[in-house]
């Protein structure tokens, strides 16, 4: 009898618990915009809170965790394709967004934000728009070597590269970097170059912040990283300097954030408002003045920008077109995955 009572109580409590979980979800405010955001939460939060204050639209954000650790928002969006819960995807780079566009996950929108961006940083049909970019840079420990392109080139010719670091190229902006290199020099040449780096002992670490930290701590003399990671070291007073990574033709690597509306989303109007807000001049200026010093891609008043961002705008103007490297996304991932996991 006692057991029966226990089981009945257990069943009642389970049903009540499930109801408590599911019913609030069914009744929840359908006007809350759902944003998947791969950008640094410390910076994106300020933009999102400003949007909420100015429009009165509440935003639920799902941030990405560190690239090497998280399942990845791109993969999550692909998994949820038939029943999306996100309305907008704010990616901190472009190639993953291009993959989503090919998979039919995105919805086209050519609003005022799309119109203010240059052609090379937007999709002609409005499936995505690039904004607020970062550049790939060399971070150099200035106590150990001069911060010049010549010194970096000489260091790369050394038989040993154990004082040089690069993030694991299977993830993040280093993957975009490799795709651009594949497009520029060909996949086979890229493989040879990569093999040469590994054989000479370059330090492969998990993420750009880890490669930056190796230089900051003096374990390495130079490292590939992004401008936002590099500025964190500069702001902390570390003896470091940055130089733009250039291809043989002198072009730089400028990786924009990208924003897109998810196909089949439930709050299309709010999503469009948010996209236009993020692509506005005020948001680009805000991101340029933040700790990450993101480079504005649309027209902005230069007086509002910090001097280092004005200098980086020139780097951005010399950049290759990232979307041209999209064709190499899958072959590069396939090769790098096979390198790690075998056939």
């Amino acid at each position: 009898m006692r057991t029966r009572h226990t089981v009945t109580a257990g069943v009642v409590m389970t049903v009540a618990g499930l109801a408590a979980i599911v019913i609030p979800h069914l009744l929840k405010d359908s006007e809350r915009l759902v944003l998947y955001c791969a950008h640094d939460s410390l910076l994106a939060d300020e933009v999102i809170r400003r949007f909420e204050q100015e429009t009165g639209i509440r935003v639920d954000v799902r941030y990405d965790e560190e690239a090497s650790k998280s399942l990845g928002l791109v993969r999550l969006l692909l998994a949820e394709k038939d029943a999306p819960r996100a309305d907008v995807f704010w990616n901190n780079q472009l190639l993953g967004t291009l993959r989503l566009r090919e998979a039919g996950v995105l919805h086209p929108y050519r609003g005022v934000g799309w119109k203010r961006m240059p052609d090379r940083f937007r999709d002609p049909d409005g499936f995505w728009v690039g904004f607020a970019a970062r550049c790939r840079v060399w971070l150099v420990h200035t106590d150990h070597m001069p911060a010049t392109q010549e010194a970096v080139a000489a260091a790369l010719q050394q038989p040993r590269l154990d004082r040089c670091a690069i993030a694991e190229p299977l993830f993040g902006t280093t993957l975009s970097h490799y795709c651009i290199l594949a497009e520029h020099m060909g996949l086979d040449e890229l493989k040879r170059w990569h093999r040469s780096l590994v054989e000479r002992g370059i330090r492969l670490v998990r993420g750009n912040s880890a490669s930056r930290d190796l230089v900051v701590r003096g374990i390495c003399d130079l490292a590939f990283t992004d401008t936002d990671d590099a500025f964190a070291a500069v702001d902390a007073g570390a003896p470091v300097a940055m130089l733009p990574v250039r291809l043989e033709n002198g072009r730089t690597l400028c990786l924009p954030n990208s924003i897109a509306i998810v196909a089949g989303c439930r709050r299309l109007q709010a999503a469009q408002k948010f996209v236009d807000f993020v692509l506005s001049e005020s948001t680009e200026v805000q991101l340029a003045r933040g700790v990450g010093r993101q480079i504005p891609l649309g027209p902005v008043d230069d007086h509002l920008l910090p001097p280092e961002v004005i200098e980086m705008k020139q780097w951005a103007e010399q950049a290759v077109r990232v979307s041209d490297a999209a064709a190499f996304y899958d072959p590069v991932i396939e090769w790098l995955t096979a390198e790690r996991t075998g056939p």
Partner: protein, 490 residues
């Protein structure tokens, strides 16, 4: 590097770590703790068990930078990683030794059996069975569970970069998955590791099942009473090293920053409190669910059910999360995807094996006679308050501690939280994980410290409320009724 090489590397590491950890734990208990030093006998095992309560995330982050100095030496990196694993594994082995009862098969009976002239296969098998259910049982169970814990490590491996040379299968598989491998392929590649885990789990469960209910004998490892100064010093050094590697070093890194960062995070008082309370409440729900399920399983479940229900949690957080992600994308279940249910289910499944082990420990800690006496006392209306206090001390306090510990483990589970959480609320641990990446150390350290203390603080509050209720109860009329009496006796 192929799946089979990665698996082989992980298995070899597991075998070595488990063997060294079990031998060390046995040595510490058997030889290292002087019988004539009661204080040391209490402190040393407690110190060795501390690493079980330090979240892997914290340990991994603390050792992340030192590990960077070693990136060019696979041997040094492997030694560091194996050392961290060894400390945790040793704690697991020690816990098993402390909770497993002493063998009912005496050395005399084994010797008598060995003297029998019969040398048939059946005779040998019986001898093996007698040994396995006798003197070898605690050692075998400790070895299997230690190996399982060591084999499943993911967070530490990922954070100190055990993903290439050396490599851990968990970090390797996750990287392959995050790099674009299809989920079906990931689940297929889990077959090998799953087989290894089953090979470790099934013998352990079978051997635990041979322990009679309510075993009252003393623990399997006795202190000899002899003084072994060298062993005692070695045991102390080992305990101190464990504490330093997994407890003191992380605290030394974190606490000074946390103190400086406290004012920064207090500015976001309400937002932080809401987030912390939501996370704590949810972790507590998952912990209570796991403990209740383990209780029902222990009371009514058959061995096959026990194995089947414990199995998902033993495959690790990645496999559980990916499995549930796929499950909740099925047409009929999609409506539940953006709720707390997937995460609740995921964490409960993950915690179920640990809850089951905790219940076994609680059972061993409380003498059945005392519990029965307290229940009998409750049937007498004159002694109800005293009986309640006794039952609180003997039973409910243990349950509360178990929920707090499970809650602590749930709270720090990054993988399940990051994959299965709903959009509307972010668990504290995913925020910590993400922001630690950007090195906002002062406020983050403060947040980390607060998060670490939360389950203990909640348990403390629970104890205080219960004691207060007890005090108030003294002045209230006793509530023992005839019907409740008969139920309590039953």
């Amino acid at each position: 590097m192929t799946a089979s090489i990665v698996l082989a590397w992980s298995v070899v590491r597991t075998l070595l770590v488990a063997t060294v950890a079990v031998s060390t734990a046995q040595l510490v208990l058997h030889r290292g703790i002087p019988a004539d030093r009661p204080l040391l006998r209490r402190i040393l095992p407690a110190a060795l068990l501390v690493p079980l309560t330090i979240p892997e995330l914290i340990v991994g982050f603390s050792w992340r930078y030192p590990a960077q100095f070693l990136t060019h030496s696979p041997a040094a990196t492997e030694i560091l990683y194996a050392g961290v694993l060894l400390i945790r594994s040793c704690a697991v082995a020690l816990l098993v030794f402390l909770m497993m009862p002493q063998s009912a098969v005496t050395p005399e009976s084994l010797h008598s059996w060995a003297l029998l002239p019969d040398r048939t296969v059946r005779h040998r098998m019986t001898a093996l069975r007698l040994n396995l259910t006798g003197p070898w049982r605690a050692f075998a169970v400790a070895w299997c569970l230690t190996a399982l814990v060591s084999f499943q490590d993911f967070e530490t491996a990922a954070l100190i970069q055990i993903d290439r040379h050396p490599v851990a299968w968990t970090a390797w598989l996750f990287d392959a998955h995050a790099g674009g491998q299809q989920p079906s392929e990931t689940l297929k590649r889990l077959a090998g590791p799953l087989t290894v885990q089953m090979a470790l789990l099934i013998p352990a469960v079978l051997l635990i099942a041979t322990v009679p209910e309510r075993e009252t004998e003393s623990p399997a490892i006795r202190q000899t009473g002899e003084r072994h100064l060298v062993c005692a010093v070695a045991a102390c050094l080992f305990a101190l090293t464990g504490l330093a590697l997994t407890g003191l070093w992380p605290l030394a890194v974190m606490v000074p920053e946390a103190i400086r960062g406290l004012p920064l995070i207090l500015r976001d008082g309400w937002g932080l409190a809401a987030s912390q309370m939501a996370t704590l409440g949810f972790s507590a729900a998952a912990a209570a669910t796991a403990l209740s399920a383990a209780f029902l399983l222990k009371r009514h479940g058959r061995l096959l059910w026990v194995i089947l229900l414990l199995l998902p949690g033993l495959t690790g957080s990645l496999a559980v999360s990916l499995g549930l992600l796929r499950l909740f994308q099925l047409p009929g279940l999609r409506i539940l995807w953006d709720t707390w249910l997937p995460l609740l289910l995921g964490q409960s499944l993950l915690m179920l094996p640990r809850a089951w082990v905790l219940l076994q420990i609680l059972d061993r800690l409380v003498p059945v006679e005392s519990l029965h006496s307290a229940r009998l006392l409750k049937t007498d209306a004159r002694f109800v308050p005293q009986a309640r206090r006794l039952l609180w001390r003997l039973q409910e306090l243990g349950w509360l501690a178990a929920v707090a510990l499970l809650c602590h483990w749930c709270l720090w589970d990054v993988t399940t939280a990051s994959i299965l959480r709903p959009v509307s609320v972010e668990p504290v641990v995913t925020r910590l994980y993400r922001e630690m990446h950007f090195s906002r150390t002062e406020s983050l350290s403060a947040l980390t410290l607060i998060t670490m203390l939360m389950p203990a603080a909640a348990a403390g509050a629970g104890i205080a409320v219960r004691m207060l209720a007890d005090r108030c109860g003294r002045w209230m009329p006793a509530s023992g009724t005839p019907s409740s009496r008969s139920e309590a006796v039953g």
